[in-house]
């Protein structure tokens, strides 16, 4: 069979960069295959995708050497338009690629550009919409849709073209865990119904492997370092070596000393079959773990009492929220999009004022205090650092909040330097912010909040879009701040963050606080997982499979063990 995509000694270098981003790629993808391309940030995986859909070289300038053919045509002699009728691309951010004013117009966009006549266009649009089950939302505006629905619209928008290849660039990055799972299921369904070749670029391997994948391509530093079946890759230690998180159940089985070569169906938690001997190994591992007692502080720093909230003339967003947060806690707020997580944070920070109920900070009622008054005690770090940064130099950005506090220049400099040292940014202090990477920018924004000396720091999605390595960097840094006494609250979709780094989780669903317990207890509670659109951890399945009767404790042991392992490594 002829490959539908074929890279031959292919290299690519962006004009703005010194070194090639893709180096000597040789890769064949065959019609009907489903291929996962993974790699850490900067490994070149998105660049590889952009070569296939024609954004390279037609939108991003650079130098190509070698050859790439897609469906029989060599891309550099083609055009982005010719390629777009063969390759349908669903980009990462479902919101950013929604061009139309309504669902129908957005789906029809490619047809409009192709001058398709009105009657035909309406028929094809509806057909495409029904493939992704969005046909009863045709007249909705993007603001009225959830992230998952927007992503479906994007899928329908490329399906109108009868493409042969579907390319998904980090489809899970902006979705809550349950929606991510249904996205993966939908991709599988479309593939089965249309027979298209599917390429998924993603670093969250465990989530993608929920449905069968034929092959995984692992990239690092612009090269393909592994091209094999999922089973073979999971049995190796390559994922860890190249900064990608292994599926948790795989890591656990490795810890327990199970020989993965003899285990069947290891590519998904749904298909794995453990022998009696292997189950025994897992149970033995569990029996060997010792548990640490956590010290208990009993002083409350932040109390939320009976908080109700609604915007004018719209549905109520928060219903009677009550919670108390202790000094020095590290806490996750989880739940589906629109469940009220961010709104609660905004209420706590004073961004939203029209609420009923009380906010008490350190035994003092701050309900009527302004944003600025509260900001001295409670800092808020937004998800996107670009939304916070208003200065061009790092020092000025961090110093900004101190300018109006009456401190002298000397004192300001001293405090800024101290914070920059804590954040590992001291050596960059005279750099322009534009020279920093995304992760470093994130640190600058955390520094700019830290400098105000708040006792509580609230972070919205601190690790969104970060690969395992950067995720670990940011989280270890927050962990350190926490150990130095800061109380940290994080809004997150990342189930592993909640498991690994937090003492406690507040679970929201439809504006109500549904649960308040440890991350492991949350993820071992299938009903709660369902209610709040979360995703069970595969460790829970392993515990069930091996007959361990306290899965929560099993998960806790795993997390503790993993932390120890990691500190040995570093």
């Amino acid at each position: 069979m002829e490959p539908i995509i074929s890279f031959r000694n292919f290299s690519f270098q962006y004009n703005a960069q010194k070194n090639p981003t893709l180096k000597d790629i040789n890769l064949d993808i065959y019609p009907g295959e489903k291929v996962l391309i993974c790699g850490a940030s900067g490994s070149g995986k998105s660049t590889l995708g952009n070569c296939i859909n024609g954004l390279i070289p037609f939108s991003f300038d650079g130098k190509i050497s070698g050859k790439l053919t897609v469906d029989g045509i060599e891309t550099k002699n083609s055009s982005i338009f010719e390629l777009s009728t063969r390759v349908g691309t669903v980009l990462q951010d479902p919101d950013g690629q929604f061009v139309g004013l309504t669902v129908a117009e957005d789906i029809a966009f490619a047809l409009e550009n192709d001058c398709v006549e009105n009657e035909t266009m309406k028929r094809q649009t509806l057909l495409s919409a029904s493939k992704v089950n969005i046909e009863n939302r045709m007249n909705n505006a993007p603001q009225d849709l959830s992230g998952g629905q927007k992503q479906r619209v994007s899928m329908a928008g490329v399906l109108v073209d009868d493409v042969k290849i579907l390319l998904f660039d980090e489809p899970l990055a902006n979705l809550d865990p349950a929606t991510g799972k249904s996205a993966i299921e939908l991709i599988e369904k479309i593939k089965n119904e249309t027979g298209t070749t599917v390429i998924i670029i993603e670093h969250r391997i465990e989530d993608v492997l929920w449905e069968r994948v034929d092959r995984i391509i692992l990239m690092d530093d612009g090269r393909i370092v592994s091209d094999s079946s999922p089973e073979k890759l999971l049995r190796s230690s390559l994922l860890k070596e190249y900064g990608i998180r292994e599926p948790l159940y795989i890591t656990q089985l490795k810890y327990a000393g199970v020989d993965l070569n003899n285990v069947e169906g290891i590519d998904s938690i749904r298909t794995i079959r453990l022998s009696e001997a292997d189950k025994e190994k897992v149970r033995n591992w569990y029996a060997r773990q010792d548990r640490e007692d956590k010290t208990n502080v009993n002083d409350y720093l932040l109390e939320v009492e009976n908080v109700d909230f609604k915007y004018d003339e719209s549905e109520q967003i928060l219903f009677d929220i009550n919670t108390k947060i202790k000094k020095g806690e590290m806490l996750a707020i989880v739940g589906k999009n629109g469940a009220g997580k961010s709104t609660l944070c905004k209420v706590i920070c004073g961004f939203e004022r029209n609420y009923n109920g009380k906010i008490i900070f350190d035994h003092e009622d701050v309900t009527d205090k302004s944003i600025r008054a509260r900001a001295r005690n409670i800092g808020y770090v937004m998800q996107n650092p670009n939304q916070m940064i208003s200065q061009s130099m790092i020092f000025d950005e961090v110093a900004l909040g101190l300018k109006n506090t009456g401190l002298s220049e000397e004192e300001i400099r001293e405090r800024v330097y101290d914070v920059l040292k804590i954040c590992g940014l001291y050596s960059f202090r005279n750099w322009p912010i534009s020279a920093l990477s995304f992760g470093q920018k994130k640190r600058v924004t955390i520094a700019s909040i830290l400098v105000m000396g708040p006792q509580i720091i609230i972070l919205d999605e601190p690790t969104a879009g970060q690969d395992f390595r950067h995720y670990t960097d940011i989280m270890d840094f927050l962990d350190e701040l926490n150990r130095e006494g800061k109380t940290i609250i994080m809004v997150t979709h990342d189930m592993h963050l909640m498991l690994e780094y937090t003492d406690r989780s507040l679970v929201f669903a439809d504006g109500k606080l549904e649960a308040d317990k440890s991350g492991s207890a949350v993820l071992c509670d299938p009903e709660l997982v369902d209610l709040a659109d979360l995703k069970e951890t595969s460790l829970f399945n392993i515990a069930n499979m091996t007959g361990i009767d306290d899965p929560v404790d099993f998960v806790d042991c795993f997390i503790a063990y993993e932390k120890k392992e990691r500190s040995h490594e570093s």
Binding site: L91, L111, N113, V158, S390, M452
Partner: protein, 277 residues
């Protein structure tokens, strides 16, 4: 959550049923004629048509309260300023001076000035309802297609549609950015002076521009990947088919426009002058 000043108000009416192109032609021909003509008879006729159109659209005054209040305030302010800065323009224009009464200093009230200002106000009274009518009866999705139908290149007209699409997003960015700046002690509220606030507002600009720029990058990629710009033309999903009514209304507009211009230019200038017998 937000007060909408101008927006599409969906209804079933004759005006709503016309295609966007027709409404754009009504809007353009009326505003041109209204802008060119100082002929009171023509203006009064246009006023009649604009009121007629308004009642046909079934839009209630209460639905456009903010705009109509603004209109009244604007016309009154404009009339007062016009009089203060140039109280003798009317007599000069019409070549006669009929004193009504003396006010103070150099200010006299003359019939000619009154008539001149009446005409100016009339123009606004006609123009505004037509503009409001166009905006509130045309589905924003049809906006771009109607621009393109009268010959505006589709790359330009589509940007109108994109702007409409992204206004809510940019509003949300703006409010989030200002909240986070405020939390860092940048005063934007009412507790500081106007100039301090203005200066601080500038600090929101950089993050807003940066986020918008990265948005634009992504949109343009996404549009290219779906063949935007592939052909010389494009079709429009939301375009309404032209009906007999559309053609009749367009023909009527052209007749009004041409006849209006002829009447206006009868006396060699664009004035209707009742003062020279």
């Amino acid at each position: 959550m937000k007060v909408r000043v101008l927006n599409y108000i969906p209804k079933e009416s004759f005006i709503h049923s016309l295609s966007g192109t027709t409404k754009l032609i009504i809007f353009l021909s009326f505003s041109f004629l209204c802008g060119l003509s100082f002929d009171t008879r023509v203006l009064l006729f246009l006023l009649f048509l604009s009121v007629l159109g308004f009642s046909l659209s079934r839009i209630k005054l209460s639905e456009i309260r903010i705009m109509s209040t603004f209109l009244v305030v604007f016309i009154v302010m404009n009339a007062i300023l016009l009089f203060i800065f140039n109280p003798e323009y009317g007599p000069k224009l019409y070549g006669s001076r009929t004193l009504l009464f003396h006010i103070a200093g150099k200010y006299d009230m003359t019939l000619e000035q009154l008539f001149y200002q009446f005409n100016v106000s009339l123009k606004y009274v006609i123009g505004f309802p037509i503009a409001i009518l166009f905006i509130s009866t045309t589905n924003p999705s049809e906006f771009a297609s109607s621009l393109s139908a009268i010959g505006v290149p589709y790359r330009v007209s589509y940007s109108v549609s994109l702007a409409l699409r992204y206004i809510p997003d940019i509003q949300r960015d703006f409010s989030e950015i200002s909240q986070s700046q405020e939390a860092r002690g940048i005063a934007l509220g009412k507790d500081v002076g106007f100039f301090e606030r203005l200066k601080n507002s500038a600090k929101i600009l950089l993050p807003l521009v940066l986020t918008s720029l990265s948005r634009i990058d992504e949109i343009s990629n996404s549009m290219q990947l779906r063949s935007f710009g592939k052909k010389k033309n494009r079709t429009w999903y939301m375009k309404k088919k032209m009906t007999v009514n559309d053609y009749l209304v367009i023909a009527f507009c052209i007749v009004v426009f041409v006849v209006g211009l002829i009447i206006t230019n009868q006396g060699g200038n664009n004035l209707y002058n009742p003062f020279v017998g």
